[in-house]
Structures are given as C-alpha cells and as structure tokens.
Amino acid sequence: MLSIKNLHANIEGKEILKGINLEVKAGEVHAIMGPNGSGKSSLSSVLAGRENYEVTEGEVWLDGKNLLDMKPEERAREGVFLAFQYPVEIPGVSNINFLRTALSEIRIHRNLPPLSAKDFLKMTKEKQELVEFEAKLANRSLNQGFSGGEKKRNEVFQLAMLDPKLSILDETDSGLDIDALRIVSNGINKLRTADNAFVLITHYQRLLEYIVPDFVHVLYNGQIVRSGTKELALELEEKGYDWLKEELRGQESINIK
C-alpha cells in the first residue's frame, strides 16, 4: 500500500530525513520508534504534505499513486490520515460540521453519493460508540477547550469517521493516562481491517502492549536503523536507545576504518 523509497527531506535547509525506506502492506500495523529528534514526527509531516518540509530525494507511493505530487488535501482524500501529536483548536467551527465537510470532500473524491443528514448522524452515533467518544464533545467547537486526552480521542473519532486507507498516528499515546490509552487503543483495534494499515509513531513501548504491531522500526538520525517484530520494542524498552546508539557508532567507526 505504502512504499517509501530513499526519502530525504529538509526543513529550513537542514536535512532531517536521510534516506528512509519502508514498505507497508494492507492489513499491517507498523510501529516507528526512536529517541527524541530522530525524525519520527518529520516523517509523518512529510507524508501528510506539510509545506515547510522540502523533499530533496526519493519517492513515496500510495497504491501506485505518487503521493509527493499531491497537495495535502488530495493525500487526505486518497486515504492518508494523520492523527496529530498536537491537534489545533478552531474556535466557532463545530466538530460535527467540520467532519461533515471533510467527509463530503472525501466521498466526492471516491465517487460516493453524498450522505443524507440522517445517515450522517447515524454514522456519527455508531462511530462515537465504537471509539467511546462523548457526544457532547462531538458537538463542541473543534478541540476548543478540550483536554489533551480529549483532543487525542477526537483524532481517533475522526479517523473512525473518515475511514482512511493509511493512518499515521503521531505520538497519539503521549499525554494519555492509562484509561484513556486503553480507550484509544481499543478504538484503533476495532478499526483495523484487512484493507487498511496503521503506522504508529511512538516513543514508548507502552502503546504496543495494547496495539500489537506486525513490525517495529527504529528511526535514528533520519534513517531506519533496525527493523524487527514486537520483540524489538521490548528490547528497546529494556535497554533504552543508548545501546543502539553505541552499536551504531561502533559500526560507523568500523566503516571509517
């Protein structure tokens, strides 16, 4: 589904991504871990098309379509969903109104007929229940006055409503207490199908106890330096990132010799 080949990207002239390679197939869950500043959030921003990043090299394909040629809204309509690490507040714009606008754009793109108000509300209700999102939050202004946890849960609710192919969750677990983490993870697990895929960007192994990944990748200094299964996450949890850094430094010095 997603194919990233040798992706390099700059922000303000500084190279942040230095040749990322990643293949994600439908039905899979990939976790991307790594220490602070390794480029995890940059990768999600570049995939979503944030303007201040400049792609200098490489390719990104989504089901055979060149993602890098598309505007952010086109990527979204093609089925890329980014659950933001810091969702913004938009005063006066009701959550539901915003979702209806977004959904209608996506449906137009997919050649689906518009949903009637009745069907839309029915769907809203179902998805709210599925991801345990309070109805009162759905009717408030978009994220305005929401707690950190409520904002993250709203991201998952939106994900449920928009039904993307590829969901990238950028540190969705950060700032969540254990109950909220469980609710968010349950929601995501229920949304997993054979046709969609998830990329979980996380700092901690904790999230992966709830959402079990098929693959774990370690991002360090703008590159994926190691890939494995969920055991890799456990190893990282146990040893921290330092051993990996040490090991990599060792390799580098060997290479220099």
């Binding site: 979503a48 098309g49 944030r50 303007e51 505007k71 952010p72 809204e73 990527r75 979204a76 309509r77 969903f81 980014l82 933001f84 969702p87 913004v88 938009i90 005063p91 006066g92 714009v93 009701s94 539901i96 109104n97 915003f98 979702l99 209806r100 606008t101 977004a102 959904l103 209608s104 754009e105 996506i106 793109h109 108000a117 202004s141 978009l142 939106q158 928009l162």
Partner: protein, 481 residues
C-alpha cells in the same frame, strides 16, 4: 450544518456575482445639486410643503458642512455636482400583480435571488423592493394592514401617513448631523417606513432590498422605523449592486425609534460592489444609522455583516434614553484587496440602568484596511449603566491592517464599562489541519472565518445567516496564497 454546506457549494464563482446592468427606461434628473434639484425631486414625488422646506434646510446645512477628517483613511474626492440625484423606473404605475412588472426587472431580481417568488413568500418574508429609488413591489401588505402595521415606501408614508412621518422624521438623525446625512435630507429618493402599533408583535421579518442600478446615480435612501409601546419588529436590509467602473456614492440614513417596552432588531447584509482587485470602482458607502430607545425597558439591536463597498463609513449608534433600556451592536466587517472599512458604533447611555453590548469582528485580507471605531458614553444620570465591548480582529496574510479606536467617556461613577480586544492571524497550522482532513485551503479559510464570526452570524435570521456566510466566503476568495 446545512448552512455550511450551502455556503461551501457556492465557492466556485470567482468574479463579483451580481455584476450586471439591467436595461430599463429610466427617468433621471439632470446631473448636479442645487435648490432646483431638490425642488425637482420633491415635485416628482408630489410632496407637501413641510417636506420640501425640510429638504431645503438639509441642503443649506450640506452646503456649509465640511467632509469629516477623523476617519482612518484618506477621504476620496467626491464631486457632488457630477452626480444625478434622482432616477426612477419610467413605468410609475403600481402593479396589481407580478405579471405586470417589467420582465427585465424581474430577471434582475431573479439573478439577485430576491425572494419575490411565491415559495419565498410562503417562507414568511415580506419584501419591499427599492429599485433605484422607487418602490415597485410591496408584498404581504394586507396581512400586515390587518394588524395595524404600516410597512411601505417612505414616499407612500408621506402621502398616506403624513402625521406620523412629520412627527418622527429627522428626530434621531437631524438634518445637521453630518455632511452625508444633510445631503440625504436634501435629496433622499425613497426608502422604507415601518410603524408597529402598541402591543403588536410583527409576525414576520420585514425585509427590503436596496440596489443601485443607474450609472452615476447616487442612492440616498431614508428609512424610518417606529416601534410603539410594547411592540416588536425585526427588519432586514440586504444590498447587492451591479458592477460599475465609476465609484458610486451611497449615503443612506436610517432612524429607529423604540418606545416604552418596545424592541427593534435591525439586521444588515451589505454586499455593494467592492471594486476590482486593484481598487478600481466600487461603492462609497457613507451611512448614518441611529436608534433611539426613548421609553423605559426598550431595546434596539443592530446586526451588520459588511462584506462589500470600496469604502464603508458607518457607525450604527444608539441613544439609550429610557431607564432600563438596552442596546446591542453585532458586527462583522470584511475587507479584502483594497477595501477599506471604518466602522463601529456609538452608544450614549443617558438613562439609569441602561445596558449595552458591542461585539465587533473585523476580518482583513489582501491589502484591506479594517478599523473599529467606537464610543461608549455614560451620561451623568446613567446610574448603574453597563457596557460590555468585545472587539476582535482577524488577519489573513501580511499586507492587510486592523485598527481599533475605542473611546470611553463616563460622567457617572456607578457605571461599568468593560472592553476586551484580541487580534489574531489565521494560523498555517489550522489550515494544514483542515487540509489533512481533505478540505482545501479556500474552504478551510471559509470555515475558520465563519467560526470566528459565528457569534455575530447567529444573531441573523436563519436564511440571511446562510447568505451572510456565503458572502463572507465569496469576499475572501483568493485571499489564500
């Protein structure tokens, strides 16, 4: 959510939608302003002597007055002698039905979406259309008549209800008020008149559409609304004007009078032609609007959505005379490209326990300049009077400007005045967030702006709120890089 959908559907059209000219035979006065012009207008309308005398007083005042200098923009040169002060469709006869109305005119109305059709009437809107100075159609009159409500053109009111007109005309905005009000007094062509008798609640929104059509014809409407004791009326004024290259002057006067226990809600959606991207053409909108809460517990609220005009110079004001009277001013003003808006309100608290609330939302895009200018005055007898003012500015891009000039004067130490102000920019993060959900930047801005203005838009009657939302989006088209 229906509102937003309808609004978003409209985003496709780029050029000023209502830019077309209707070809109808016009009866136009000669260019220029003199005593003869005033006599010509008054004579055309078969006015009584007292009205002609009053017009003459207005003319004399106009000739003495100077253009205001305090506004936050350079006043354009207006050659008052190159304007034609009267234009009326030649077919003067009143129509028994729509079938008799000039089809060209009807087509124009259709393009404007003026709700003259049966279905719209069923929706409960009585429309008094002012088409270049003379009213051509008044609907729902009979129904209103039965309740004792008078809703007609001011010319008709002069003929049929001269006592009422003479008693109230010019009592809120005197003929000496300012240069534009004096000019209006001298040459006002037509406008609306509303009288709601004691204890009557007007059952529908009263609505008038003003529209400038003839080239070089300034339009000078005069509106007078009187709500007698314990009555209620909601009135909506909507404007659209066709595209013109020359600047056209628009100097209207609106007077509202609320007696004891009465309430008037006055809403405006203003969409005059703003000029092109380089600031060529566009309407100069110099309007004097004022309401007097004469009786105890009376209430007047102004709601305005100002999206059009090259220059908007407008301060709908309130005189809170009666004890416990209250006033509200809700405003959204948008400037894009080279548009200028200098708008706000003046609220004079004279009576005790009077209350007022000001919510102003300015939006600037392109090279637009947007000023809020407000005066809150507490008189010596305004015991326990209260005012709350919130004045927000939203900037889109880095070429535009937002300015705030709030004046406060208090002569009573029991009065409370609160003022809050914010300035914000539409954040790239907000736009990107919406982009990431499949919404393009233009729609994203429309959503954000409508959210920002919601508190004011919510004050408008439902169907006009939809129109206002559309206008906001249309006005801001192309403002995102």
């Amino acid at each position: 959510m229906e509102k937003d959908d309808m609004m978003l559907d409209e985003l496709a059209n780029k050029e000023y939608e209502f830019g077309f000219v209707t070809d109808i035979d016009m009866d136009i006065s000669e260019v220029g302003l003199s005593e003869d012009t005033v006599r010509f207008i008054s004579g055309k309308k078969n006015e009584p002597q007292w009205l002609l005398d009053w017009r003459m007083k207005g003319l004399k005042a106009f000739q003495k007055e100077e253009m205001p200098k305090w506004q936050n923009f350079e006043m354009p040169e207006i050659d008052f002698q190159s304007i034609s002060y009267y234009a009326a469709p030649k077919k003067q006869a009143k129509y028994a039905s729509l079938d008799e109305v000039d089809p060209e005119l009807l087509k124009t109305f259709e393009k404007l979406g003026i709700p003259m059709s049966e279905q719209k009437q069923l929706a409960g809107v009585a429309v008094d259309v002012v088409f270049d100075s003379v009213s051509v159609s008044t609907t729902y009159k009979e129904h209103l008549n039965e309740m004792g409500i008078i809703f007609c053109s001011i010319s008709e009111a002069v003929k049929n209800h001269p006592d009422l007109v003479q008693k109230y005309l010019g009592t809120v905005v005197p003929h000496t008020d300012n240069v534009f009000a004096s000019l209006n007094t001298a040459v006002f062509s037509d406008g609306s008149f509303v009288y709601i008798p004691k204890g009557v609640r007007c059952p529908m929104e009263l609505s008038t559409y003003f529209r400038i059509n003839a080239e070089n014809t300034g339009q000078f409407e005069r509106t007078l609304i009187i709500a007698d004791e314990d009555s209620y009326v909601s009135y909506l004024e909507g404007c659209t004007a066709p595209m013109r290259d020359e600047n056209q002057l628009h100097a209207a006067v609106v007077e509202l009078i609320a007696m004891k226990g009465a309430e008037i809600k006055y809403s405006t959606v203003q969409n005059w032609y703003p000029g092109d991207k380089d600031g060529k053409g566009g309407i100069f909108n110099f309007v004097t609007k004022r309401g007097a809460c004469r009786g105890e517990h009376s209430k007047i609220s102004w709601t305005q959505v100002e999206t059009g005009s090259a220059i908007t110079w407008k301060y709908p004001s309130l005189i809170l005379q009666g004890d416990y009277s209250s006033g509200e001013f809700y405003s959204v003003a948008v400037t894009n490209n080279k548009q200028i808006a200098d708008t706000g309100t003046k609220i004079h608290h004279l009576g005790a326990h009077t209350k007022s609330r000001i919510i102003s939302k300015g939006i600037s895009a392109g090279e637009g300049q947007n000023s809020y200018r407000g005066l809150v005055q507490m008189g010596s007898k305004a015991k326990n009077a209260r005012n709350f003012t919130q004045c927000d500015s939203l900037l889109i891009g880095d070429q535009c400007g937002a300015h705030t000039f709030p004046y406060i004067e208090s002569k009573n130490n029991t009065a409370t005045i609160e003022h809050e102000a914010t300035t914000s920019k539409i954040g790239e993060d907000q736009v990107f967030y919406l982009n990431q959900r499949g919404i393009d930047s233009e729609q994203a801005i429309a959503l954000i702006v409508n959210g920002y203005a919601k508190e004011v838009l919510n004050q408008l009657p439902m169907e006009f709120a939809v129109e206002a939302q559309k206008l906001l989006s249309l006005t801001l088209e192309g403002s995102v890089g």
